[in-house]
């Protein structure tokens, strides 16, 4: 499936805009629609815990864990198995990290949980990216 990059305006960037690979997924049994950033630099997919709760998941049922931010700050949360689907595709059960401490506005689709299940082809020049089953 091909998706368009999303134009994001941000006055702190040179040129005051950029294009991000944002993708809507349906999370959990409630199929909650959530906007995610495809982030190959993240070792695991990270979901805001309030969204997980709204999707029908209880974060504290998972395994407690800590990730380190790029600046070295610890981020507490829970590893959890959760289903998600992309635009009507079959739901995929995968491990994600649920945290209330993520300050990034989007959930992150990282190596574990996303890239292990999907192949992604980025083509920023033509303003689209493609997602295929791995």
């Amino acid at each position: 499936m091909k998706f368009n990059y999303t134009l994001i305006q941000d006055k702190f960037l040179p040129g005051k805009k950029t294009y991000l690979a944002l993708l809507d997924i349906n999370l959990g049994e409630n199929k909650l629609p959530v906007k995610c950033l495809i982030d190959s630099g993240s070792p695991i997919s990270i979901i805001h815990s309030p969204l997980a709760v709204a999707a029908g998941v209880t974060p504290i049922d998972g395994k407690k864990g800590i990730l380190l931010g790029i600046g070295g700050e610890p981020i507490k949360g829970y590893f959890h198995k959760i289903t998600f689907s992309i635009y009507g595709s079959n739901p995929t059960l995968c491990t994600v990290f649920l945290t209330a401490e993520l300050k990034v506005p989007y959930c992150l689709l990282g190596q574990i949980g996303f890239f292990e299940n999907y192949k992604v082809v980025f083509n920023l020049r033509k303003k689209f990216f493609e997602i295929l089953p791995a």
Binding site: D10, K35, S42, A54, I70, K103, V104, Y106
Partner: protein, 66 residues
């Protein structure tokens, strides 16, 4: 009714958003994701998704807490 995402810089709220012309528009906001979704659907928007509001929408380093 539709607000540009970059103009919504009160952080920590849950936004129901749509994508129009490859850019994000805010259709509802609330302290709870479910409430935000409900508000958006009451306004007639069915194809919305949820994200968090922030001071910046692109110029952060992932996982960097502030």
């Amino acid at each position: 009714m539709l607000q540009e995402l970059n103009k919504f810089n009160k952080p920590g709220l849950w936004l129901a958003v749509i994508t129009k012309n490859n850019s994000i528009k805010v259709v509802a906001s609330s302290k709870s994701p479910k409430e935000s979704l409900t508000k958006a659907r009451k306004k007639g928007f069915k194809e919305v998704s949820l994200m968090m509001s922030s001071e910046r929408y692109a110029s952060w380093i992932p996982l960097l807490t502030t």
